[in-house]
Symmetry: C2
Subunit: 281 residues, 2 copies
């Protein structure tokens, strides 16, 4: 009898991956957690029934959420990661020699613990106690509200806006993010699929645009996520992705990211432009 893990990508669409072994099934204070060995994607983390990351495609997400904002900033020294409990974003961030200090704040200590146990490749920087990295278990929303003009880059590596991630998609949160950034700082947030979650993206775009002088959206392929078309929203005080020029060498290997991608990810199909700017642009 075959065993599957299924995500309801929408009320009308299911993605089911065959599973050879369920490694963990339990609950934290905040959510249901599953770790499974899937035949297509390798090991997978599932939170509240939503596929979070997999060994096979995690590089696409983690490289794109980390390297795009970090290379956009000419000298990112202090980086804050909100969420990102699996450690994948932190793993990519610490690779930048310019980065001196990375603070990661995830609300769910259980996710961090399980990632270290079951996803050592992803949790690498946490497992190795990378000296740049400080991991805190706590509320990212409250943490952000305390911070002031301190960070060069903030990465919001959150889950869907349902459950513990909800408060990370509000106007109030973006206001505090602005406040937490230095005068030339910028932030990025994963903002779901432009094909499937259009009202959400428009809401985020509106909030971020009201607060930040530069708001941009970029897309990337993430096979594990609904539609495979995923986007990230950037709010920036000074540096504009659309006029980006290489400002330093890439000193490490990547499997997805490159200089061409840094530019091309911001080239949007017409239907996405219309979503953000309306019909005429």
């Amino acid at each position: 009898m075959k065993q599957y893990v299924t995500e309801h990508q929408s009320p009308y669409l299911d993605l089911s991956a065959e599973v050879s072994e369920v490694l963990y099934k339990g609950k934290s204070e905040f959510q249901d957690i599953e770790v499974v060995e899937s035949k297509e994607f390798g090991r997978m983390l599932v939170l509240d029934g939503v596929f979070q990351t997999s060994i096979k495609d995690e590089f696409m997400y983690h490289e794109m959420i980390a390297h795009i904002p970090l290379f956009l900033h000419p000298n990112p020294k202090n980086v804050l990661i909100i969420g990102g409990g699996d450690g994948g974003a932190a793993r990519e961030v610490v690779r930048h020699p310019e980065v001196e200090k990375v603070t990661m704040v995830d609300i769910d200590g259980k996710v961090i613990e399980l990632s270290k146990k079951y996803f050592p490749e992803i949790a690498k920087a946490m497992l190795e106690n990378n000296p740049k990295l400080t991991v805190k278990v706590g509320d990212g929303i409250g943490f952000m509200a305390q911070a002031e003009a301190y960070y060069d880059v903030i990465i919001v590596d959150c889950s869907d806006p349902i459950g513990p991630g909800e408060g990370l998609f509000t106007y109030e949160f973006y206001k505090n993010t602005y406040k937490a950034l230095k005068p030339d700082g910028l932030f990025v947030q994963q903002t779901e699929s432009p094909f499937m979650h259009q009202p959400l993206i428009q809401k985020i775009w509106k909030s971020v645009s009201e607060i930040f002088p530069i708001t941009r959206l970029y897309t990337t392929f993430i096979p594990l996520y609904p539609s495979g078309m995923h986007c990230f929203t950037i709010g920036s005080k000074k540096y504009d992705p659309l006029t980006w020029k290489p400002n330093r060498a890439q000193t490490f290997k990547t499997r997805y990211y490159n200089e061409g991608i840094q530019r091309s990810a911001f080239v949007l199909p017409n239907f996405v432009k219309e979503l953000l700017y309306g019909e005429e642009k």
Copy 2:
């Protein structure tokens, strides 16, 4: 009781779409055919259990298979479409004022007939008897073997390399495609997912590279297809997508394609470059 249509995207991965109505279920000489009304993607065409096209995302596929090669060629007059029985590629091709003649050859007359009936938006050019368009029911492989130095652009809008599409992925077929093109002609073929079908893509790349002086791959988002990351391979005798400059105005509206996309679609993530060129490039 809910009803679903399911594609086995791989032996280990299923995508299931809830269906409100099955409009047609039958067999042609070549394949099983289903037309269903799905709640997520709207009306869908399913051949041998594989999702072919949907009302919601068909523009992404059809614009990208048609406009990338057509705008790459400075003056495409004669266009051949192999496959493309739903009529979507033809619909996009006839929009180019430069195009004088489009010949479409699909092996399965039943697909053409059902597309006209159930997908009038997609089959538009066929339904309107567009004067540029000639539709033939027949074997594309044999048709290609007969043609000589006649076409500016050839579009191979085929299904998977299993079943009737199989012969459209061979060295022999690419040889005949080269022969059928004018001295500055080019062709494009849908070549599946760089995330899921790597050996196939490498095989095609090798064959096309041996025959054509310029071989390029481009990617696009297609939510209906496995992984959402789809690619197309171009073999070209003269025009190189990597040095493309706009050579004429776009005189019609598109929902996905634009000038930026014409360039950015050819910017490949590192893992795709490695697939094609090996580790070092």
